[in-house]
């Protein structure tokens, strides 16, 4: 097959399988609806009524805000701290036990603590999301910075490249493939922790909405919330992939040329 035809065929398969699954679910739930598995058409109906756009501002937006804020704070702190730790073996040795301990705590276990100390507002949720997202980025940044080729360090020294130039144009780009790997992992964690934190002591948010709907036996609404979370997760990953492809285009090129 010619490349163009092949690409179209591949795309068709990618679209056809999810479409088929939706069609089967649609037919199955329509033919024999039960209380917990309402007809898919009802779910879609509620989805349209709830999220486009009646509750978008009251529930979806606060969720996205918390997630974005928590994630951004985590990434910034993790890259800064990871750069410092990756550059100094002494610092690394000194902090390793603490880092290993903190990242081993199952995150939801921190929610009660966070409620007591920070309260039940947005700050608590942002804190939980940031705390969880911190570790993958931190550990990957440390690894990336620590693993920079010694030849590259020598090159920077020989040519007197130091300070900001060295950090922004040599050190961080060299570590960026690993930093991105960590950020990708953290993105999924951010979504999960957003939902979990909203299911405890909350008054709004998508997680809150799903739990609230279930408790008031509004099952189609509950499903619509789950559907929204799935779509959001998918879109976040897609957006991340597009950004990563652009930023790390050199990395893919360099790897392909060194392998080929």
């Amino acid at each position: 097959m010619r490349p163009r035809t092949r690409r179209i065929a591949e795309l068709a398969v990618e679209i056809a399988v999810p479409a088929a699954i939706v069609a089967v679910l649609f037919a199955w739930t329509a033919g024999k609806p039960t209380f917990y598995f309402p007809p898919l058409s009802d779910v879609f109906d509620r989805f349209a009524n709830t999220w486009v756009f009646e509750r978008f501002g009251s529930d979806a937006w606060p969720s996205l805000r918390r997630m974005g804020l928590g994630y951004a704070i985590a990434v910034l702190i993790a890259i800064a701290a990871g750069t410092a730790l990756g550059s100094s073996a002494t610092l690394r040795r000194a902090t390793a036990p603490v880092v290993e301990f903190l990242r081993s705590i199952p995150p939801p276990a921190l929610i009660p603590f966070a409620i007591v100390v920070i309260g039940i507002g947005d700050d608590m949720k942002v804190f939980i999301i940031a705390f969880v997202c911190l570790w993958p980025v931190l550990l990957n940044t440390i690894d990336g910075i620590n693993g920079i080729d010694p030849t590259l360090r020598d090159t920077a020294r020989v040519y007197g490249i130091s300070g900001r130039d060295r950090l922004m144009r040599i050190t961080l780009p060299a570590a960026s493939p690993q930093i991105f790997a960590g950020m990708r992992l953290s993105l999924s964690l951010a979504l999960i922790l957003m939902v979990i934190s909203e299911m405890v002591a909350s008054t709004n948010g998508i997680g809150f909405f799903v739990l609230q709907s279930q408790r008031s036996f509004a099952i189609p609404e509950m499903w619509s919330g789950i559907l929204l979370l799935g779509i959001l997760g998918y879109l976040f990953n897609l957006a991340f992939m597009i950004i990563e492809r652009r930023v790390l285009a050199w990395h893919r090129g360099a790897r392909a040329s060194s392998l080929g």
Binding site: D149, T151, L152, D154, T155, R157, V158, Y159, G160, I161, S162, D165, R169, I170, P173, S176, W250, H251, G253, A254, A256, S257, S258
Partner: protein, 261 residues
């Protein structure tokens, strides 16, 4: 006064019984506009020597003097071309970005920096590839980028660490001629480390022959071959064969002596 002086330089890694004496005692000097090759058997601490000379490593004994001043860190008057071009170039920057990188902190006018970059890239014959990325180029071309980066930096002394060891023979010949050309164009002093005896004789005005580790200077010999050098004609000269054989014996005899003890 010599441009660069190496006085009783020694480097020992570790201490006590586990210590490795990489460099025993090395002394020689570089005059202005000289092309000196340092040649020695593999594993004789050539790279360590070069790192000490460039200020990347601190010698255990002795010192390196640049115009009489002790070298304590990489001086601005020196540039270094590494053997592993693919690891010393920045793959996230184009050829232009790589070459301009060391100029950024030199406080040059933008136009002046751009001119230096373009001139250096032209000198290595890569003008049409200036906006490509290093990984889009062949190995020999990547090493040319590394050379252009060193040229644009305008060092007085260019140190080269087996720069052509990982390119094929044909490319190697081209690069040897390129570096001779560039030396004249930029009026530089070059110290070239290699394990290839032919290469050392072909390129240099003087050769420093090293012993196996712990490294000492075996002999320093002049290379009175006429300039300009030519891959065919120069290598045809009886003096070339003679010098080549002489250096070869120096290195080989030392190796045998080392093996028999």
């Amino acid at each position: 006064m010599a441009l660069l002086e190496i006085n009783g330089l020694g480097k020992t890694y570790g201490e006590g019984d586990g210590a490795t004496h990489a460099i025993g005692d090395v002394s020689f000097s570089l005059d202005e506009r000289e092309f000196v090759c340092v040649v020695g058997p593999s594993g004789c601490g050539k790279t360590t020597l070069l790192k000490c000379m460039s200020g990347l490593l601190e010698p255990t004994r002795g010192d390196v003097l640049l115009r009489g001043e002790r070298v304590e860190g990489p001086p601005e008057a020196m540039a270094l071309v590494f053997q592993e071009y693919s690891r010393s170039l920045l793959p996230w920057m184009s050829v232009r970005g790589n070459v301009v990188m060391p100029l950024r902190h030199k406080k040059l006018e933008k136009a002046e920096a751009a001119r230096l970059v373009e001139e250096a890239v032209d000198a290595v014959g890569l003008t049409e590839f200036i906006d490509r990325y290093p990984w889009q180029l062949s190995g020999g071309m990547q090493q040319r980028v590394a050379i252009a980066r060193a040229l644009a930096y305008q060092p007085e002394i260019l140190l080269m660490d087996e720069p052509f060891a990982s390119v094929d023979a044909q490319t190697r010949g081209d690069l040897e001629d390129l570096i001779l050309e560039v030396r004249d164009r930029y009026d530089m002093t070059i110290l070239f480390v290699t394990h290839d005896i032919d290469e050392s004789v072909y390129l240099s005005d003087r050769i420093v022959v090293l012993s196996p580790s712990p490294t000492e200077v075996r002999e320093i010999l002049d290379v009175p071959l006429p300039a300009p050098r030519d891959q065919v004609e120069t290598k045809e000269l009886p003096e070339f064969a003679h010098l080549r054989a002489h250096v070869y014996r120096l290195i080989k005899r030392r190796r045998e002596a080392a093996e028999s003890t």
